[in-house]
């Protein structure tokens, strides 16, 4: 596909390297925390700079939250929302937003993020990150929702680019421009999910490097890395967080590092969960790439 060709063609090109960026305010490598890994992480305390959790999994005063608060003594936590539904064409769920704010109070996360997507409408939660039409109407609405969320949460949000399997005919704004404009209007940051970008670029045959180029370095607050698979019945890549990061995604990550420098980077793995060591191995590889591409001596 066009996107992968574009990526391959850039592999051999010498790119300018960002060397002046100060060290990330918070450590560089984290993994998504899954409950099955909690005992081993608690016992072994692997060298990780942060752990990331889905906010919606910890909104009750539960056993899971108590275990997380225990781990919080040893690791900074990044809080990733999957249910704010910032792109809903109706009011935000204030009850949910209140629970999110309370959790921020308990965890004092280093980062707070959610998605350029919608997931709930008419009181029903669809448990997915559905794509928006990129129009002036949805841009205005999304910015209002980000403003409200940042006000209630008392934190700067990072908004993550989605992986998409459909696009709307009436979209008038390129996704990267839409994301940049949200950041400009609301002051939020951008969470660049490199796997999502690769998946969408393959699915819609656009150049992921041009997309990376469009995002301003100063807005990038975090990078996500994860696995994907090819759908069985249609020529579409599916973001599944269920396998190792694919080689072309690592290559795209290197391109992101050249452009943005070292930012907190997360290995996400939510389905077909392997042993913790596999996630740590992926985190180790991400760390190596950061060292290679972001050290002062990197060529």
């Amino acid at each position: 596909m066009a996107a992968s060709k574009a990526l391959n063609s850039r592999k051999t090109r010498q790119l300018p390297v960002v060397v002046e960026r100060p060290p990330a305010a918070h450590g560089k490598i984290g993994i998504g925390l899954r409950s099955r890994h909690v005992p081993k992480i608690t016992a072994d305390r692997p060298a990780l700079d942060f752990l990331e959790v889905h906010a919606e999994n910890y909104m009750a005063q539960s056993v899971a939250l108590d275990r997380l608060l225990e781990l919080r003594r040893h690791y900074p936590v990044s809080l990733h929302g999957v249910g704010l539904s910032l792109g809903s064409g109706e009011l935000l769920d204030r009850d949910h937003l209140g629970k999110f704010a309370a959790l921020i109070g308990q965890l004092e996360p280093i980062l707070v993020s959610d998605h350029l997507a919608w997931s709930a409408v008419g009181g029903v939660y669809l448990n997915d990150l559905l794509p928006l039409p990129y129009t002036e109407e949805s841009l205005d609405l999304f910015c209002c929702h980000v403003d409200e969320a940042q006000e209630v949460l008392g934190r700067r949000l990072l908004v993550e680019n989605p992986s998409s399997y459909l696009r709307y005919r009436h979209s008038t704004i390129p996704e990267a421009s839409f994301l940049v404009e949200i950041a400009r209007r609301t002051g939020c940051g951008i969470l660049c999910d490199v796997n999502n970008l690769y998946v969408s670029a393959r699915n819609f045959e656009f150049d992921p490097l041009a997309y990376l180029d469009a995002l301003p370095q100063e807005a990038i607050g975090q990078v996500h890395l994860a696995g994907h698979h090819a759908a069985e019945d249609v020529d579409i890549l599916i973001d599944d967080h269920g396998c190792r990061v694919a080689e072309p995604v690592w290559a795209l990550f290197a391109e992101a590092l050249h452009r943005y420098g070292s930012v907190p980077t997360l290995i996400e793995w939510d389905t077909n969960l392997p042993a913790l060591e596999v996630l740590l191995d992926e985190a180790g590889h991400a760390s190596e790439l950061i060292d290679v591409h972001c050290s002062p001596n990197a060529a």
Binding site: E56, N57, M59, A60, Q61, S62, V63, A64, D66, R67, V82, G83, S85, S88, G89, E90, D93, H96, K99, W118, S119, A120, V121, G122, G123, V124, Y125, L126, N127, D128, L130, L132, P133, T135, E137, S138, L141, Y165, L166, R167, Y168, R169, H170, F204, A231, D233, V234, D235, I236, I238, T271
Partner: protein, 263 residues
């Protein structure tokens, strides 16, 4: 087919129908085909919705899943999720009425105990989502019990649940934690369970009829005298002083109050 551009909210309500019921309606007119038709693209989202909710239900109801096998469970979860989509964005809260659904789901009729196993697993899940509070010190009650004991009511640990079933769901649950399931005698008297959180785990045990009546009455915020009456009505030999002592020693109460008007 309408060619007017839908508002964002209209579009999202249409997509909701496609995700919940597979009804794509007029949405294809709004979607770029690009070699793959819009219905196929929408099916990806519907499949994800059903698959992820099926996994969430399997996490909450693992023994139900084992009892009916994974394929049938996926089918039941598929039907349930389409008819009862989540209202909360917290998936651990999803499945509150799954037991009722199973009870009315005809293909499950051959397993009459299944709804109660689902109810039991839901209670375990709900218990794990509750906090633990510092228990009430028995000494805090010493001064007041002598004169006003009858009027005392208690606030219990938020996690405590009292559960009854005509089926031995606790034995069924334990039997299905092993690779090899041993036969279970399904004929039993009604079981009465106390379920609670204990640190990082959820624990439960059976109570005798009178103790169950006593403790579940206190859980319903009845005063001590009413709880004693409930217990002695099923067992005249019930010992209130010993029962209260044990109730407090087990840390079930977190606070107390006087409610003379309710006696």
């Amino acid at each position: 087919m309408s060619t007017a551009r839908p508002t964002l909210l209209e579009l999202q309500l249409q997509i909701r129908r496609a995700v919940l019921a597979g009804d794509v309606g007029e949405i294809p007119a709004a979607i770029e085909a690009s070699g793959i038709d819009a219905a196929a693209r929408l099916r990806i989202y519907r499949s994800h919705f059903l698959a992820t909710l099926g996994e969430a239900l399997k996490t909450t109801f693992p023994v139900v899943c084992r009892l009916v096998d994974e394929r049938f469970f996926a089918y039941a979860a598929h039907e349930y999720s389409s008819e009862h989509p989540p209202r909360s964005r917290c998936l651990s809260e999803y499945g509150a009425d799954f037991a009722e659904f199973i009870a009315s789901f005809e293909p499950c009729n051959e397993l009459p105990y299944l709804p109660d196993v689902a109810r039991f697993e839901w209670e375990i899940n709900a218990t794990a989502r509750m906090p633990e509070a510092p228990p009430l010190s028995p000494a805090a009650l010493t001064a007041v019990l002598a004169e006003k004991a009858a009027y005392v009511s208690f606030r219990l640990q938020p996690s405590v649940r009292y559960f009854t079933s005509p089926w031995p769901v606790d034995a069924i649950w334990h039997a299905n934690q092993r690779d090899e399931v041993l036969p279970i005698d399904l004929v039993t008297d009604e079981i009465r369970l106390e379920i609670r959180r204990a640190g990082d785990t959820v624990v439960w045990h059976r109570l005798d009829t009178a103790s169950f009546a006593f403790r579940s009455a206190l859980a319903d915020n009845l005063v001590f005298a009413a709880a004693i009456a409930a217990a002695t009505s099923v067992d005249p030999k019930f010992d209130p002083a010993a029962a209260l002592q044990l109730f407090l020693a087990e840390g079930l109460a977190v606070d107390f109050d006087f409610s003379p008007e309710t006696v």
